[in-house]
Symmetry: C2
């Protein structure tokens, strides 16, 4: 009989297909598990699969007395209370690096789309305004990529891929992380210093309690009127209210956002802004990224049920 | 007294400001010169500034009996009848490479925006459909950049910059030009072979009579249902009717277009398509690109009026 795995978050069925071949999936569809499955079924659950951003604390863990493994689909695990898991001997796994290229590429897409104002450009052609020789909204040239100062906040696998791509665009690349690495980019010892220097701030830091709202009104102000912010990490890293204010009063020029504080909810004041390019958290959503993330999930679940350590365990867990 | 320069095409005044400091500009605003200036004024014109795509043949040249220099703003000069100019001892100048990075970057922007479906993504968030948990139009994951086969047609300065950028995205890069170069990319001996191999065709070839409609229904068909075409060269290189048909019946997946056959006119059947990202010929339209192009224009005009050869002369002229 196949081992049982509880699907704790809401995932499309197609993303679960490879797991269904190997395991007996109890799919909550993102609803509370107790509302979907009888208590005696839940009491036997030893492993669950979740989205790393979804809150999963001590109380939730205690619904499943036999729980031994929490496996996150994707690289993030910011929703998981790691201390609570550790104290219950629950292993936590994720998919490190599996989606790094895909996420770095959505960062590049959002940066280019925003700085080259592609939504405005597309609409000018599509509406017929260009054909009618109406005044172009693109008249004032914008700064391009060569020589542009790109500040990367976070230098994990995603940050490094963003940096490498930006360098190929002939941009200058700087970064801030707590640790200085041996990398061919300028290191800044604080986020403030990075924001003072750069014109595009790329947020690629691993999110957690200590990064909550660190991209504040002050940091945005340091980017300046020609500055942009791109976030592909987690919405929690930016103070979203401060961002709406900075974009509305032109404290900064624009933003590219794949992540938001309370997904899928986005403030109307934000989505009404013309100087933002939005994406619905699709950074890791490419064919090869899903295959790589699923490989990690399968390896983690298989190892767990064989009584082995998770090959892709969260390091601090 | 400052030397006179006829502004033959329609240019924004801001783009002419640096020239106005050095020369006496006769600005046609893109209208026929004879309608704007008296014949005796035109008869003294020795140099004109034009957009390289605007037709300028023998008859037009003969309006200006003393014409000695045609200076194109930008890299293109496909509108100029080079034989007619040569037979009249008219030098033709342009701005080689000045806008290469800017144009390569719009190619990358269009490719990423198209393949990652950023218009659809933005609209899904902006409309509130995501917040309302309506069915996502992004459900089916798309192929990303790592391992994607990018075919670059043309390996001048723009093509090389596109290739270098794509390589940084971990894509495979192939190219077709008449000449095989010593480059770290796979060479294909024909456009057909390149189109059979690649999933994104990047058109970066210098346009002219011999490239008219070479990207035909046959070439588009070879790209296949997962294929994309991006054009930042000239609209004339693609058979636009065949492109509309291929996009409409899903022969190919999508397109990113900065240039069109009859700018600024674009067929309604084209602009109605959801699987295209449009830009109004803004490839070279960045601050640093304009500065570089203006440097070439100033150097060409200054040399001409000093009786010297144009430093940025069109090579085949």
């Amino acid at each position: 009989m196949a081992d049982k795995v509880l699907i704790y978050s809401r995932f499309p069925k197609t993303m679960m297909a490879r797991f269904a071949e190997r395991f007996d999936l109890l799919d909550t569809g993102g609803k509370p598990a107790r509302d979907v499955f009888p208590a005696d079924e839940l009491s036997g659950i030893r492993a669950l699969l979740t989205g790393g951003a979804q809150p999963l604390g001590a109380e939730a863990m205690d619904q499943f007395p036999k729980l031994g493994a929490i496996v996150c689909y994707g690289t993030g695990y910011d929703g998981i209370d790691l201390k609570a898991a550790a104290s219950r001997n629950i292993a936590v796994g994720h998919s490190p690096g599996a989606n790094a290229a895909s996420v770095a590429d959505i960062a590049m897409t959002l940066m280019l789309a925003t700085t080259r104002r592609i939504l405005v450009a597309d609409q000018y052609v599509r509406s017929g305004d260009w054909a009618a020789s109406k005044q172009s909204p693109m008249m004032r040239p914008q700064a391009g990529m060569p020589g542009r100062r790109i500040g990367v906040y976070g230098m994990g696998e995603i940050g490094r891929k963003i940096a490498a791509r930006c360098a190929a665009f002939e941009s200058e690349v700087g970064y801030f992380t707590r640790t200085k690495y041996d990398l061919p980019y300028q290191y800044f010892p604080s986020l403030e210093a990075l924001a003072d220097w750069c014109s595009v701030l790329m947020i690629a830091v691993r999110a957690g309690a200590e990064t909550q709202h660190v991209v504040s009104a002050d940091i945005l102000g340091r980017l300046g009127a020609d500055g942009y912010v791109v976030n592909i990490s987690r919405g929690s890293v930016i103070d979203e209210k401060a961002l709406v204010a900075a974009l509305s009063d032109k404290t900064i020029a624009g933003a590219g956002l794949d992540v938001f504080e309370k997904e899928p909810h986005t403030p109307d004041a934000l989505t009404a802004l013309p100087n933002v390019v939005f994406a619905p958290h699709i950074g890791g959503h490419t064919l090869e990224s899903h295959v790589a993330m699923q490989n990690c999930v399968l390896a983690n679940l298989t190892a767990f049920f064989e009584g082995k350590p998770l090959p892709y365990a969260v390091k601090s867990a």
